[in-house]
């Protein structure tokens, strides 16, 4: 009952969107510049805005906070109901989705004319997550990638003075750690897609083929990545469990239950706060090992976008241009621990002094974007579900890759149809 009403409401919302758009079109230019921020960033942004307000007293910025869990639905509903803000923070995997809706304003012209935003100062992998069909639709705000957190002391006891540089050395270290009594030296939570995705991005083949309308998970590269991933679990290096079951990663890491953890930048702060004092210098961060030498990783993070329906695009761009300044990004780092996407922002004192953040800077030079299709989030979820099932029940990498391709092709069926008609 409830369900059908909800669906109808959405249908009506979709049907009336053009109407309300014309109504809104009649309204004047008045009203504040609306900014949607998410989670912690949405809270902190108010503090950063003081400087902007001093420089542009005429622009009234109104910040609205969304929780991350509801943000995706909110954005789509806002689009359907013609209630999109002027500027928003957007997880960069969502850029393609909103681009497919035509909801985002291209920034190429404004960026080319901007003295502040310099493309070659940004990490290239991150910059490219914002390009869909050759158009720049967002400016990177902060970056997120996954790399290795490791226990230096345990590794030293196992006879190694450096973190692993390639897959083979990694496995060697894992085996050596087992020998000194760390039964399962790595954790790969089976509900997190990032580790496997990072391994997959290290391969040469793209993850989708035929203009991103079919899965390419049966490529030799992905199968190699998947086999390596499953091997880590089958050889007992990592337990089969979800992050819920681990419950307190920091404590377990401190106790030495495991020595490797693939995680993101926010964990630098968490580990620093929560690891027991005697282990203060016992852990470090390192770029992710690849098949031959150091490898690529995911290009996550958030971008700032301007919505197509905004009638205050010049003011909106002034705002995201302000956030792109290295010194503002530095302050943003102080407030949140989010890593800046610009290379020059890394000269910020607090960042330059942090040895553990440096591994991220190195990794960021080697991050790769995922295919810019609206279906990507579903695809990557599907990939992880199949991989988790294979890890738990023991399917082969080849069978699993075939199963992933089958479900991905189903997800992309509509996209294929549109592509044949030249609409996607």
């Amino acid at each position: 009952m409830k369900s059908r009403r909800g669906v109808l409401a959405a249908l009506l919302g979709a049907a009336t969107a053009p109407l309300s758009a014309t109504l809104a079109g009649c309204a004047g230019n008045a009203g504040p510049l609306r900014f949607w921020g998410m989670g912690r960033e949405g809270v902190v942004v108010a503090e950063l805005l003081d400087g902007f307000r001093r420089e542009h007293p005429g622009i009234d910025v109104q910040v609205e906070q969304l929780p991350w869990t509801a943000a995706h639905e909110k954005l789509l509903t806002a689009f359907a109901g013609d209630a999109t803000p002027d500027v928003a923070q957007l997880g960069n995997t969502w850029v393609a989705e909103l681009a497919a809706l035509g909801a985002l304003a291209p920034l190429d012209g404004r960026v080319a004319a901007s003295p502040v935003v310099q493309e070659d100062d940004y990490f290239s992998g991150i910059w490219h997550t914002n390009i869909v069909d050759g158009k720049l639709l967002g400016l990177p705000w902060y970056v997120d990638t996954r790399l290795l957190f490791y226990r230096r002391d345990l590794l030293a006891r196992a006879g190694f003075d450096h973190p692993p540089r390639d897959w083979e050395e990694w496995r060697k270290q894992l085996r050596a750690l087992q020998r000194i009594g760390v039964a399962q030296p790595l954790i790969l939570p089976n509900n997190e897609f990032e580790p496997l995705l990072a391994l997959a991005l290290q391969q040469d083949e793209p993850l989708l083929r035929e203009f991103n309308t079919r899965g390419n998970f049966q490529s030799a590269g992905f199968e190699r990545a998947l086999a390596f991933y499953l091997g880590l679990i089958r050889d007992g290096f990592a337990p089969v469990e979800s992050d819920q079951q681990i419950s307190n990663v920091w404590q377990e890491f401190g106790r030495g239950r495991f020595a490797f953890y693939i995680a993101g930048p926010w964990n630098i702060g968490e580990f620093r706060r929560r690891m027991p004092a005697e282990f203060k210098n016992a852990w470090g961060t390192a770029p992710l090992p690849g098949p031959t030498g150091l490898g690529a990783s995911t290009a996550g993070g958030s971008s700032l976008v301007i919505f197509e329906r905004s009638r205050r695009k010049p003011e909106a761009f002034k705002l995201i241009e302000y956030f792109a300044r290295p010194e503002v990004q530095g302050r943003f780092y102080d407030l949140t621990g989010d890593l800046p996407p610009r290379k020059s922002s890394w000269a910020w004192p607090a960042l330059a002094a942090d040895t553990r953040a440096r591994a991220f800077a190195e990794q960021l030079e080697r991050v790769r974007p995922t295919p810019p299709v609206p279906e990507w989030e579903r695809i990557v979820n599907e990939m992880q579900l199949h991989a988790a099932r294979a890890a738990a029940e023991g399917g082969s990498a080849a069978d699993t890759a075939r199963a992933i391709d089958t479900s991905v092709d189903t997800i992309l069926a509509k996209r294929r149809w549109l592509h044949q008609r030249g609409r996607a």
Binding site: V7, L11, H72, E73, S242, Q244, P374
Partner: protein, 293 residues
């Protein structure tokens, strides 16, 4: 039509309009939607919308996740409904006993979960069932048992949800049972006592048969309600771990509001609707046969 007929029509028209506008139109629109592939692309332009007729239904029936969700929902109903009804009946009978003191207080306390906000109590239950700090696991450990990962282990997540739902919902049915119990004439019990029937025999041969119509009604309502499991997994587990708490309605929510596949989501809704009709009809049939036998 005669004048009276016109007058009659005039009287029912407001109600019919409301029903038509808020029930018939949405249902028909939902049915129509379930025959299309309405998705994100169709939101951009209706040119991207295709009539796919029954394709959504066929695709769903071939999807392992749909069957998994159905299995989870049936698991929840088959275990949850009897448990919930037994709890309601048990507490109602106990509260009826002349030995119980502070009846109004107990009645209020047992009814309270029904009228509290689900999200608020879910937060408390998550604490209670926390693997490391939860009261439940502390009690288990005090008894010398191993702690259980209630919400993180795919084998335990659904039983935990069932416990939670039964606790949250039994109070409402308890009140109905109490009303029905009061309607049983006390001379029946007196006669039974004179014949030498003990408490259990009285319960089996007087209380249960007298409550049969009430139990049937409660059974049907609870079953229909439990098939629509959604809020509990949504706030407690988000469908996890390993999709062990994805219910049919949760699947619909995911399809419709997370991935914006409104066509598929409507098809899920209609499949669930058909299933509920089927199950409640067979419950009625079963009860009728029992009554005539």
């Amino acid at each position: 039509m005669t004048r009276t007929q016109w007058a009659g029509l005039g009287f029912v028209l407001p109600a019919l309009t409301v029903i038509g506008l808020f029930f018939v139109v949405p249902v028909v629109a939902g049915l129509g939607l379930s025959l299309t592939d309405f998705d994100l692309y169709a939101l951009v332009s209706l040119k991207n919308l295709r009539w796919v007729w029954l394709d959504n239904y066929f695709t769903l029936l071939q999807q392992p996740l749909f069957w998994k969700a159905l299995g989870n929902t049936v698991y929840f109903v088959v275990l949850g409904v009897p448990l919930s009804i037994a709890l309601s009946l048990g507490t109602a009978v106990l509260l009826q006993s002349p030995l119980v003191r502070f009846k109004p207080l107990l009645r209020t306390a047992l009814f309270a979960p029904v009228v509290t906000t689900l999200v608020a109590v879910a937060v408390i239950w998550r604490y209670l069932f926390h693997t490391r700090y939860g009261l439940v696991n502390e009690a288990l450990q005090a008894l010398g048992l191993n702690p259980v990962d209630w919400l993180g282990d795919p084998r335990w997540s659904m039983p935990t949800i069932i416990l939670f739902a039964a606790w949250k919902n039994f109070g409402g049915n308890m009140i109905i049972f109490m009303a029905a119990l009061q309607a049983i004439p006390s001379d029946l019990y007196e006669a039974a006592r004179i014949d030498g029937a003990k408490a259990w025999a009285q319960f089996r041969h007087i209380t249960l048969p007298s409550l049969a119509p009430t139990t049937l009604m409660i059974g049907i309502l609870t079953t229909a309600g439990y098939f629509q499991l959604f809020a509990e997994p949504y706030v407690m587990t988000q469908g996890g771990p390993l999709q062990s708490t994805v219910s049919v309605l949760y699947l619909m929510y995911d399809q419709g509001f997370k991935w914006w596949n409104l066509g598929t989501a409507s098809a899920v809704a209609f499949l669930l609707f058909g299933l509920i009709v089927l199950v409640t009809r067979s419950l009625m049939k079963l009860a009728n046969r029992g009554a005539s036998a």
